[in-house]
Symmetry: C2
Subunit: 270 residues, 2 copies
């Protein structure tokens, strides 16, 4: 397979960089082709601004959605963005790796998403009718590919558990896994999360590294998170709400968007 890892830590001697190298080395040993976008090393620009849209007249209003649409269709995106889009089209698997800062990705990686996920490429794809509401949430340009997160957190695993004070990690990562990765079509694998990384010793690192290698070896076979497809019949169009009766009426939150029957299958297969 072809694997793209997008890396967002400022120090090449960090734990994140060490884990990244464990992952890349294992993938290469398996015979996969590997590429890496090292956002800090590459001097990635984080802000969506006028410089992203060379076609925009100097006195025109910058409306990001409209400017992105125009630039994508005219093949007039900036070189750095176009290069990332090429890599995404090339890769069978996308890995985003980052330290959890304030319960989500660092700004530089959010800026990679904001700039690379162009209109016509990652959103604004497909027809809107009474049968479909665009190619998104399970369909889209990147359908058929897989994606996963590698995340490090300073806090304790218990604090990110079902009743932990930070909120459950799967809910904290839902806006990324569902909203950023599943949206343009990726099958999203459960994340790899390392906790309490500020006090990790050598033995702790070795355990973590072996757990990460195992995830790299099962990239092709790990069942994805069973999110519901938007246009598969579960949602009413155009209000895009889950059909009544599909879930317990009292159920709430992000977990509604998991297909329980597929989730049961996934757990049975574990």
């Amino acid at each position: 397979m072809k694997v793209l890892l997008v890396f967002a830590h400022p120090d090449p001697r960090s734990l994140n960089a060490a884990l990244r190298d464990v992952a890349l080395k294992d993938l290469e040993a398996q015979g996969h082709e590997v590429r890496m976008s090292d956002l800090y090393a590459d001097g990635w620009k984080s802000e969506v601004d006028r410089a992203d849209f060379p076609l925009l007249a100097p006195d025109a209003r910058l409306i990001p959605v409209a400017a992105s649409k125009e630039a994508f269709h005219a093949k007039a995106l900036t070189e750095d963005v176009s290069a990332e889009i090429e890599k995404l089209l090339w890769a069978d698997v996308l890995i985003l790796q980052f330290p959890l800062w304030w319960f989500t990705m660092p700004a530089i990686l959010k800026g990679w998403v904001d700039r690379v996920f162009a209109y016509g490429f990652a959103y604004g794809v497909g027809e809107h009718s009474d049968k479909r509401w665009g190619d998104r949430y399970g369909e889209g340009t990147l359908a058929g590919k897989r994606a996963m997160l590698i995340v490090t957190a300073g806090g304790w695993e218990e604090h990110y558990s079902a009743r932990g004070v930070n909120g459950p990690i799967e809910d904290l990562l839902f806006p990324i896994n569902h909203g950023i990765l599943y949206y343009p079509g990726y099958d999203v694998l459960p994340p790899f999360v390392a906790y309490r990384v500020d006090r990790l010793d050598k033995a702790g690192f070795d355990v973590l590294a072996e757990r990460l290698r195992e995830r790299m070896r099962t990239l092709a076979t790990t069942p994805p998170i069973p999110y519901r497809q938007q246009n598969g019949g579960d949602y009413l169009i155009p209000i895009m709400q889950l059909r009544p009766g599909l879930t317990d009426a009292a159920a709430t939150g992000f977990a509604l968007h998991l297909d329980d029957s597929r989730e049961a299958l996934r757990q049975a297969g574990e």
Copy 2:
């Protein structure tokens, strides 16, 4: 009151800028003191990197938590960051205003959080013992102040409702409201959210503006989101999980962290 509005849209002629001006004008008319951080106009730097820590030796590893702690205690943060911290200490109310991009804030605003919310200021505050787990989630440097979000979204309100395909807006914003604002002590007001803003006409704008003015007039009196205080007895220390029995055993998700009794009071007061 003193109000700080942090603004994150690249165009001064945008809908966001128009709404911002409605808010600022109304606040001033009420006699409040108002300041604004216009991140794009100010050329805000989004990335946490070595340039943020002048004390860090050139050959030293950059460990962001450790570097932030050292710089904050030595009063050696960069000028742009120190100026924002001064503004936060000055303001009674913080407003973050941004367009929802990929279900969260734009990179430039995340970079404001990543860089300004220093160790010793916004986290890493207070004692850790068997009675307390730091001053956070309802306690901390910014306790006694209020915060709220002003957010614009292209999508439909239905798509962000309890059963909407994007996930409920209150859950999408939980990592910001609870994880970024409540964490260092703010009382967090319900967000102001404007939907379908890509097709807004003059009449639609006027309705929105009046709704926003109403929120500006009730900044001091709107009941905050009733998040549970971490050290108030609801969480077990140090695992920081909600005590058994406080909520329905089957309950899940972010809503667990609302105090139902206070939530009922809040709704009764609406």
